[in-house]
């Protein structure tokens, strides 16, 4: 269940996603995928290349540019015995399908007194610095994390991309999975054999005793980079990846913070009312009597993502900012 120690085989993040979907589609004939340019085109990010050749256009379904419509179609199919993966090309476009995701998919099971199920996966992206500007760069996972009835997964690398996708597909509840679009070509060890990653179990990516850095998705790599810099100045950072924002493994993060006495939370969503707020306040509450300094948060800058590279790069948390903030935190108290 944790990252394998011997790297038998390396895949890119994109390949890991594709392998997870392909394996689950082979295993379970109820699984299908629906979205824009997913079939012959294999998705604009090329993540799905080859799937239509294996599974045909009946199970890899190209749609018109109708996010609300095909999201709703996914919900209906999920309620009646299928297990759809609904592909929303950019995370920014979930804005168009929020009624179907939030008022329908998330609530049907509860509203029906538990009789109807909606085993659906919404797969979409997050992450800036692709020079795509304000409507193609958002990380909106805080929204769906807020909604009872949804589960939310944020794979931080190829291993997680495969394992969390498989868990998502097998889950009987709606899951929204955000892939970091800047990481599709990142390589990492991915077992060829079947495995899943349990939801709600954080992983310690790096052990340390001086400060806890909780980081999600794209920010795990940033945090690990910062941890290296911190090590050079004698600060041992423990880096924790919650892997799912709901269910959220609060205890793991609280326990770590109790041990280190300091905590920093890093996430690529807008900082204000973002995922960092929930995690930071959970740690601040749960580890209150053990903290030597306030819990700090770093999210994306609270601005629409600018196009100009010189500005865009300023908006996302960097190794440098994480390093500086952690260093300052460790000086305190």
């Amino acid at each position: 269940m944790s990252t394998p120690e011997v790297a038998a085989r390396e895949l890119t993040y994109g390949e890991a996603v594709r392998e997870a979907i392909a394996e689950e589609m082979r295993r379970d004939p109820r699984v299908f995928l629906i979205g824009e340019d997913v079939a012959e085109a294999g998705h604009p990010f090329k993540v799905l290349t080859g799937l239509v050749q294996e599974f045909g256009t009946k199970r890899i379904i190209d749609t018109p540019i109708s996010e609300p419509g095909y999201a709703g179609i996914g919900v209906g199919a999920a309620m009646t015995g299928m297990r759809p993966i609904v592909d929303v090309m950019f995370g920014d476009f979930i804005t168009l399908a929020m009624d179907q995701i939030v008022n329908q998919a998330a609530k049907v099971h509860y509203m029906s007194g538990g009789k109807l199920k909606v085993p659906i996966v919404f797969r979409t992206t997050l992450g800036a610095t692709r020079r795509s500007a304000a409507q193609h760069s958002q990380s909106l996972h805080a929204w769906v994390s807020h909604i009872p009835g949804l589960k939310v997964a944020l794979p931080s690398g190829p291993y997680e991309a495969k394992g969390l996708m498989k868990t998502a597909i097998r889950d009987d509840s709606p899951v929204v999975i955000f892939e970091d679009k800047m990481m599709y070509r990142t390589k990492g060890p991915v077992p060829a054999e079947d495995y899943t990653i349990p939801f709600g179990v954080a992983e310690v990516k790096r052990a340390g005793t001086d400060i806890t850095i909780v980081a999600t998705s794209s920010m795990v790599g940033v945090a690990l980079g910062a941890a290296k810099l911190l090590e050079e100045i004698g600060i041992g950072a423990e880096v924790i990846d919650p892997r799912t924002t709901y269910p959220l493994d609060k205890q793991a993060m609280i326990d770590s913070a109790k041990k280190t006495s300091r905590a920093l939370v890093v996430d690529e969503g807008y900082e204000r009312y973002g995922v960092t707020a929930e995690i930071a306040s959970a740690i601040a509450e749960g580890a209150f009597y053990h903290l030597d300094a306030p819990v700090k948060r770093i999210g994306a800058m609270d601005v629409p993502v600018p196009f100009s590279p010189v500005l865009e790069d300023l908006t996302v948390p960097s190794e440098r900012t994480v390093f500086e903030t952690a260093k300052a935190l460790c000086r305190k108290a």
Partner: protein, 327 residues
């Protein structure tokens, strides 16, 4: 099963069954209004009275395993598809034996056993669900048909056009059932619908027809055709049923300033679905007044029993509140 020709006696029985179903819906919603007025029902409800021929004509053309999605004005759809009166009332009162254990209420009654995927409080919100159910039926290789009920108001929702387009592209077995009762809440539909209603689905490649929604036989006959068509794989259809709600938008809307009493009288006196069917069968010498009276008496007993059941039923236990959030 629904294709074979119906014998005359069977036909009478089928018609009397439709009458009974309509009478049940009417009596049910009259009782709902009473529950509201006597402050026994939490919240509001949208009465289906006046529109009974639509739900009954449609659902009698469906198999039990065919699927429907319903609306905020959904009691008629649920009952016509086979829901039991007692569990319906229990749901409306927020009681544990209700169809949704009291968690859904009037606007969310779902009953998978009778193929009811649920009412929906988002106008037009179930258009995708019904279309997805049809896609699912096709993928699973069943010959189920899905029916999406919605009001004229839902014609304002873009989602409907998105999914009709896909249903046409993929020849899905789904029927878009527009209950045009002339108003969306307090606004006449002439102020909200430009152009031509039937031209809309047609422009998207969806076969479209219109029928007198107060004539249960006409609705039923039309639906049988459209359902068979869909079952044969000939693709989606759109059926506009012209109808009228006798009461206000919801139980609390009693003044109804947005329409005239004359208009209401006209519909009630000349286009009542129960009257229309009863007088036709009587004129044809197939039934007499006694038959209908007996039905009404039966129905009344069923409703009375149902509401007593619901009133006596327990509320869900407090610890149910956070159950069934996740499957």
């Amino acid at each position: 099963m629904t294709t074979r020709a119906i014998e005359p006696r069977m036909e009478l029985e089928a018609n009397l069954h439709m009458y009974r179903q309509m009478a049940k819906i009417r009596a049910f919603d009259e009782q709902v209004n009473e529950l509201y007025k006597s402050a026994k029902m939490p919240g509001l409800a949208h009465l289906y009275i006046g529109e009974e021929a639509v739900a009954v004509g449609v659902c009698e053309a469906l198999r039990r395993d065919d699927l429907i999605t319903s609306t905020h004005r959904g009691h008629g759809h649920c009952l016509a598809k086979g829901a039991a009166v007692n569990r319906m009332f229990a749901e409306l009162l927020g009681k544990e034996p209700g169809y949704c254990r009291g968690k859904g209420g009037s606007m969310h009654i779902a009953d998978p056993e009778t193929g009811n995927l649920g009412a929906n409080a988002i106008v037009g919100g179930s258009a995708g669900i019904a279309t997805g159910a049809a896609l699912s039926a096709k993928m699973r290789g069943t010959d189920q048909v899905a029916v999406c009920f919605f009001g004229d108001g839902a014609l304002g929702q873009g989602l409907l056009y998105e999914v009709m387009n896909m249903a046409a592209l993929w020849r899905l077995p789904v029927i878009y059932l527009c209950e045009n009762n002339l108003y969306g809440e307090y606004t006449p539909c002439g102020e909200t619908i430009a152009g031509d209603i039937l031209a809309r689905p047609r422009a998207l490649g969806v076969h479209a027809e219109s029928v007198d929604g107060q004539d249960v036989q006409a609705v039923h006959a039309t639906m049988r055709r459209l359902v068979e068509r869909a079952r044969r794989g000939e693709g989606p259809a759109f059926l506009e049923c012209k109808t009228y709600r006798y009461y206000g938008h919801h139980v609390g809307d009693v003044n109804r300033e947005y329409r005239t009493r004359e208009e209401e009288r006209e519909w009630m006196s000349k286009h009542d679905p129960l009257e229309t069917l009863a007088s036709r069968l009587t004129t044809q010498g197939l039934a007499d007044a006694g038959v209908f009276e007996r039905i009404l008496t039966d129905v009344k007993a069923e409703i009375d029993g149902g509401v007593q059941f619901a009133l006596a039923a327990p509320y869900p236990e407090p610890n149910e509140v956070d159950q069934d959030v996740y499957a």
